[in-house]
Subunit: 146 residues, 2 copies
DNA sequence: TTTAATTTTGTAATGATTACAAATATAAAA
DNA sequence: TTTTATATTTGTAATCATTACAAAATTAAA
């Protein structure tokens, strides 16, 4: 991992939480760790299922609460691909997303949505920008042809 | 209305439906008319409430069905601003959207999301692109300062 | 007409998220 | 340490937009 690429370089997950003024409970640390290492942009259900084996008492509600808390302090990005389920991204760097309409996989795109938001009407204040692309991933595109 | 700006120029709403192979029932024509003239990117509930006075027997389910049908034949664009409610746009020209986080109003942006989707991974097929901007509209930004 | 197909309608089911309160864990005070 | 207050987790119930479904109404075909 490059030093410059990670704004939390050299901090433990627990420290990251403390620096945000959040008590680093076992559940929160595990959820943060999972989010920061996952590349699949998991849903609450995916986080829950992944952590359940190591934390049998984990509640879905805790995952919902935690992910909401992380959103508020800016530890995760919430993505809505219009499937009725939200996905969470621990990668806060400016980038965009592609969702395969066939297999549902989500890929990162090296496109900075911020830079796009030029032509805004006078007097508008931009807080967030999201760029979503939908289509077929290379694998599903291949299979399509058969 | 300029000739070039409307792909359905000179067609009645009924004809537009027929050309899509859809039977132009009273409900469908009214819903299409409403969608094509509205600039507010209405939700199903908004469409339903707007048409109820003139069609007291209208069912919410019909609006849901119709809007789904229109989506499938490409008569509307579905927008998801992550508020748990979908919004519908009869304007099919390439453009983006701004939602005010304070008052919930949706504004059109003169930004073509298609053109952004350059750097796609090899072999990916793009079907749809959406660009969403969130923030404060000029009115709400003013009020904010008081 | 009569019959068949389509569309609309109302109600029930679904499912992700949120609300809530009891149980548990942690920190602060004594 | 023990007691007490505060924060967090947990399980269950409520919410609410959307979807499923079947009966009623409308329209087209025979
Ligand atoms: Mn990402
Ligand atoms: Mn629009
Ligand atoms: Zn795929
Ligand atoms: Zn506003």
């Amino acid at each position: 991992m490059e030093e410059g690429s990670n704004p939390f370089f050299m901090q433990t997950h627990s420290e990251i939480l403390q620096n945000k003024g959040i008590r680093p409970s076992v559940q929160r640390v595990r959820i943060l760790k999972f989010l920061m290492h996952s590349k699949e942009h998991p849903t609450v259900e995916m986080i829950f299922n992944a952590l359940l084996p190591e934390m049998p008492s984990l509640s879905r509600t805790t995952v919902y609460n935690t992910v909401e808390l992380f959103k508020e302090v800016g530890l995760v990005q919430v993505l809505d691909f219009g499937r009725g389920v939200l996905r969470y991204d621990g990668d806060l760097s400016p980038h965009s997303h592609f969702e395969c309409e066939k297999c549902g996989a989500v890929y990162d795109l090296d496109i900075k949505p911020q830079e796009i938001s030029k032509k805004m009407p006078r007097g508008f204040k931009v807080h967030q920008t999201y760029f979503y692309v939908f289509g077929l991933c290379s694998q599903c595109k291949k299979n399509e042809k058969n």
